[in-house]
């Protein structure tokens, strides 16, 4: 199965394609056959012994044994450990309800901030933007967010904002901005001094020194989603020259 998967890396697969766990035709008699562990990421699913594709897209591979489907979508499905930008909608008692663009709102406890105690409540109002991560995110339970990591430190999470602009892009662009050697990010770096927060739910928040620059950056990011690399670089160059 591992070799079968490796052959298909980079190809377009559709939901319903499966890979079964059968050993190869040639089994060496001298060594013990060691079954290899396969880690299946988003878009791939385990069903008994078989690996099923459940999203259409391109199969990607990472050493040593990770496979996942690279697909386009705009609707976010929460997953544990992902950092997202949420908007506080309800403040009721001990818990805030946060809208992150999913099917239901997530709950964020007031104690899940750095240095928060029962007497010392965090200063969070309805309508605030929070940068937080999921601690519970499966299809059977209500999603839960926290603004603190496992050792109790905030690490930049929590309420942010004060000016700036929040807008949505596709999930693919958000991931491309966050990937290690991102072209879009390196293009953006040379443009204006600005601050950017990227949520994995497709929400971006930008702040720059003037309103016009903020709007320029927001428009650039929203439009470069579907552009090829040369088109995008041309657009950024025009923006840098001040034409936009």
């Amino acid at each position: 199965m591992f070799s079968g998967l490796k052959d298909k890396v980079g190809e377009v697969l559709l939901p319903g394609d499966e890979f079964s766990l059968e050993t190869d035709d040639t089994i060496s008699l001298t060594e013990r056959v060691k079954p290899e562990k396969v880690v299946c990421g988003p878009g791939l699913r385990r069903s008994g012994d078989r690996l099923l594709v459940c999203k259409s897209g391109v199969l990607r591979h990472k050493q040593p044994n990770m496979f996942w489907m690279d697909s386009q979508q705009r609707r976010y499905v929460p997953a544990k450990g992902e950092t997202v930008i949420g908007i506080v909608t309800v403040k009721s008692g001990d818990v805030f309800k946060v809208d992150f663009g999913g099917s239901e709102q997530a709950s964020l406890s007031y104690l899940a901030f750095e240095g928060a105690t029962k007497r010392n409540r965090p200063n969070v109002q309805v309508g605030d933007l929070v940068f937080s991560q999921f601690v519970v995110a499966n299809r059977d339970m209500e999603p839960e967010l926290v603004c603190v990591d496992s050792s109790g430190r905030a690490n930049g999470m929590g309420v942010f904002g004060g000016g700036g602009l929040l807008f949505t892009v596709s999930l693919g662009l958000a991931r491309r901005l966050l990937s290690p050697h991102s072209d879009v990010l390196s293009d953006l770096q040379t443009l204006f001094p600005c601050e950017l927060v990227v949520g994995m739910n497709g929400r971006l928040w930008v702040k720059s020194s003037s309103v016009q620059q903020t709007l320029v950056i927001a428009n650039l990011l929203q439009s470069c989603d579907t552009m090829t690399a040369p088109q995008r670089q041309e657009l950024f160059r025009r923006a840098a020259q001040g034409a936009l």
């Binding site: 690490n155 601050e195 990227v198």
Partner: protein
């Protein structure tokens, strides 16, 4: 008393004061009987033993570890220095270019570490002088004797008894 004809009940035999008199075999018998009673009461499934299959496929729901996504907050050209510090802390440390970027991102209003150290040093001196006793303050501050030719004599002034 005809102890042979009277059969003592098992419960009686199990009691502590009777255990001393019994020999080892009867004790073992009693224990086994007890265990058998207990295990008969326990229910168990009469199925063949199923071996749990080793799962070779591990499911991972998030894109983060797949694509090695970085930290979500960014700041460019020194717009927000705290976020820039966070970027250095949170992102994986295998980039060798970070040292060059640090110099570029420093804003002009920043105080370098060396300036801070110099200032702190002079601050400590002035604070120390403020709390020094009057006698220490009166002594000459500068050390003109670089070669340490003259030996310094520090005699503590003692109380002089008045002579009659």
């Amino acid at each position: 008393m005809a102890s042979d004809s009277v059969k003592l009940s098992k419960n009686l035999l199990r009691m502590k004061f009777m255990q001393r008199g019994l020999d080892a075999e009867t004790k073992k018998q009693l224990e086994e009987d007890e265990k058998r009673i207990i295990s008969d009461e326990h229910w168990y499934l009469d199925l063949p033993e199923l071996k749990a299959k080793e799962n070779l496929i591990v499911e991972e729901k998030s894109f983060g570890p797949c694509e090695e996504l970085r930290y979500g907050r960014f700041s460019f050209k020194g717009f927000n220095p705290e976020v820039e510090k966070l970027m250095l802390l949170m992102n994986p440390r295998d980039e060798t270019e970070t040292k060059d970027e640090e110099d570029v991102s420093r804003m002009q209003t920043d105080v370098t570490d060396e300036e801070m150290a110099l200032r702190y040093e002079s601050l400590v001196e002035s604070m120390k002088k403020k709390f020094a006793k009057k006698r220490e303050r009166a002594a000459p501050e500068e050390e003109e004797d670089v070669n340490h030719n003259a030996v310094e004599t520090t005699t503590k002034r003692k109380f002089l008894k008045p002579q009659d």
